[in-house]
Symmetry: C2
Subunit: 431 residues, 2 copies
């Protein structure tokens, strides 16, 4: 078998066999297939597509390119969650401890910020001392002991995906639905997941900007799950405006803590309840979504979800005093509130612009090696559909640089569109 | 400007600007753009195409990536020829000295065998001592002194094309009409050609297997010529059966020498006359094709073309005694004639199979580093349309290994198809 023949077959719209896909993924892992062949192949896949069967074979080959975890002796049904990423998406910070508090042990490996989209690891690192680089032994021990883990992706899991992903990033081959689906699913399968709740974000602040693409990705992931013997539940959720109010690492952790205390923005709270309820159902802790909802609400009300979050932070070396007194989080030097220039109904708060402005403030990275400023970001005071009066606070900027503050404030002001007539609120979920 | 954005633009079927193409080609030359980005870009070009304007910009950018020769003080109109490659195509060996003998100085840089297709340099190296690696100074001096040069491609000309070509070879991106056209034309322009006669081969033994593709390639090259201010004349010639009778390096040199003496197979002789006449017309030595034909015929009849070939071989260090007495060429150890198994009319002699069998005998390379056996190959005794009787010689195999001989003989026998009813001969040219 030759790599070039496999490239040519995909170039000519052929369907690759399982053996061809395995050969290619193995070659990628071992370095026998050079980057330039993988790049040409990825472009051919992006332009000519792959069937669900090919995508499943790619997923499994990448999952098996490294260690594959087995959590069966720790948890009966290992449930994972994944969000395709957006602006203000701190769902994991609430959902993981809540679900664990309801009796479903859950260990999750997360990522860092990518483009305008924030990253769970960056958020958790706002808490001084919090360690994200656990060994697999530490992961298993902590899951067994306290039933919740939230750390970085192990380099030993799905290394072929890691290689392919970094290559896609620089060769214009990120936006391929089969490649996105196999990348996500290979990491979940290598992490030992029996069931996965996938939150596919759709809107201008997501990687999938239209509903058809998002549906296609969701359907493909469900199909991969079927073919690979994993239960996959997908949700399509809105990412046209930021989720919740806070955007920026420490600001988002504070909003997550509020939510764990039973407060927090209504949209974000509702989103978390929905995701967590689905996890409890696939984890067979709740028999219906309604029962799952009720369990999660109780965990927020009785403090057990928050207590689980405290345990999580402590177990991973974080300073719990910050969690207990969120006012101790270092604040940005410059905090400025921007008022509504006129009265009206909020028609749009463009999530992508808010995300980009947040990266520009230092909350995300332009290059992989850039440091992250945990203190900076925004609090958006209104959601689409809200009525605002001229002079009322529209959003607050947290910055450490006057020039950056002014630029970011101007962008985010422009991201808000007001209309004279009432505007319906955005849906949280699409179907 | 970022390479990844240029890749994405082409991936999304955009038309690249001249600046974007120059940026990409410069990056390729200097190594600032890594191979994997070039590979992804080449696949996007192959699948999404390029306009004539983009292809011309690519051609000129590659031509200008190294030295650009100027032969204006040696020859008024620098005429080059190029064949897209085939089986038994030793046209250059006859046409170059013939045209030079008619008073049009001509210097040509050729290539080596590629796949099942033979290479002019490999053929010329059958003559002991013949040097193909001339410096540019040697090239110019020899062109000035004897009016004919036939050597290898200088590494200083169009180096970006060299890099891209070797990458295309291993990434399944050879078969792109814009990339083929720009590769050929960039080398011709860098070599200082004012006019080019392009022989586009079409048939199962050519890179273009159907007439539409061949026409498309020819039209694109003419268009590049127009946009780049070079005169380009294209011929579409048949490559379903081998050209002439001999296939294999020394065997082809001997057939070329026969032709220079006024003999040689009728189809090959006619082909050479046609190509050479076109060169004389674009070089303004003959005013009409008929006049060009007549001049070339005279050069073959009066020995001046052969004398020019002797000069060429001598100037480049070759042993002229081989040219004078072709029987001194080393013969393969095993020479076996295969007879027609039945009577009939020759319906097909599949050029590709003959080319592949010739490579298998050692006349070409499976890998770039393989040595070439100059003695081995075939002499095909009949052309499509010929009537043969059972037991009459069909072809002769020249081999240095009994097992290879048997396999090659079986393949080439299978490449011959005989029919009971008369079959028309193949056309030499299509339009």
């Amino acid at each position: 078998m030759r790599a070039v023949d496999i490239i040519i077959k995909k170039r000519d719209k052929g369907e690759l066999t399982r053996e061809e896909i395995r050969f290619f993924v193995n070659g990628l892992s071992t370095g026998r297939i050079p980057d330039y062949q993988a790049a040409a192949w990825a472009m051919a896949v992006l332009l000519n597509g792959m069937t669900a069967r090919e995508t499943t074979d790619l997923t499994l080959a990448m999952a098996q390119s490294g260690e594959v975890l087995d959590m069966s002796d720790v948890v009966k049904i290992a449930v994972d969650k994944h969000s395709t990423g957006g602006v203000g998406d701190k769902t994991t910070l609430v959902v993981l401890p809540a679900v664990a508090a309801c009796g479903l042990p859950v260990g999750k490996m997360s990522g860092r910020g990518l483009g305008f989209s924030g990253g769970t690891l960056d958020k958790m690192e706002s808490i001084p001392g919090y360690r994200v680089d656990l060994s697999i032994e530490e992961f298993e021990r902590q899951l067994k002991e306290i039933g919740v883990v939230l750390c970085g992706q192990s380099k030993n899991l799905a290394p072929a995906d890691g290689k392919l992903y970094s290559l896609r990033d620089v060769t214009g081959t990120v936006q391929s639905i089969p490649l996105i689906a196999s990348s996500v699913m290979s990491k979940k399968i290598a992490g030992g997941a029996h069931a996965v709740v996938l939150d596919v974000k759709v809107g201008n602040g997501a990687f999938m900007t239209n509903l058809n693409e998002a549906r296609e990705l969701a359907a493909l992931m469900v199909k991969i799950g079927e073919l690979a013997g994993r239960k996959v539940v997908t949700l399509l959720s809105d990412m046209n405006q930021p989720l919740g109010c806070a955007v920026g690492n420490a600001l988002e952790v504070r909003e997550a803590i509020d939510t764990l205390h039973g407060d927090g923005p209504a949209d974000f709270r509702e989103h978390c309840l929905h995701v967590a309820a689905h996890m409890l159902v696939v984890g067979e802790v709740a028999s219906t979504l309604e029962a799952g909802h009720a369990l999660v609400e109780r965990s927020l009300a009785d403090g057990s979800a928050f207590a689980k979050f405290q345990q999580l932070v402590q177990a991973q070396g974080g300073d719990v005093s910050y969690v207990d007194n969120p006012d101790t989080f270092p604040r940005a030097r410059l905090v400025q509130t921007v008022d509504a220039p006129r009265s009206g109904y909020v028609e749009r708060v463009q999530a992508k612009i808010v995300g980009e402005a947040s990266v520009a403030l230092g909350a995300g990275r332009a290059k992989k090696t850039d440091p992250v400023d945990h203190a900076v970001g925004f609090v958006i005071h209104h959601k689409v559909g809200d009525k605002v009066r001229a002079g009322e606070p529209l959003f607050t900027v947290h910055a450490n640089d006057q020039k950056k503050l002014e630029e970011a404030a101007a962008s985010v002001l422009a991201a808000h569109e007001l209309d004279d007539f009432p505007v319906p609120p955005m849906p949280l979920f699409y179907e």
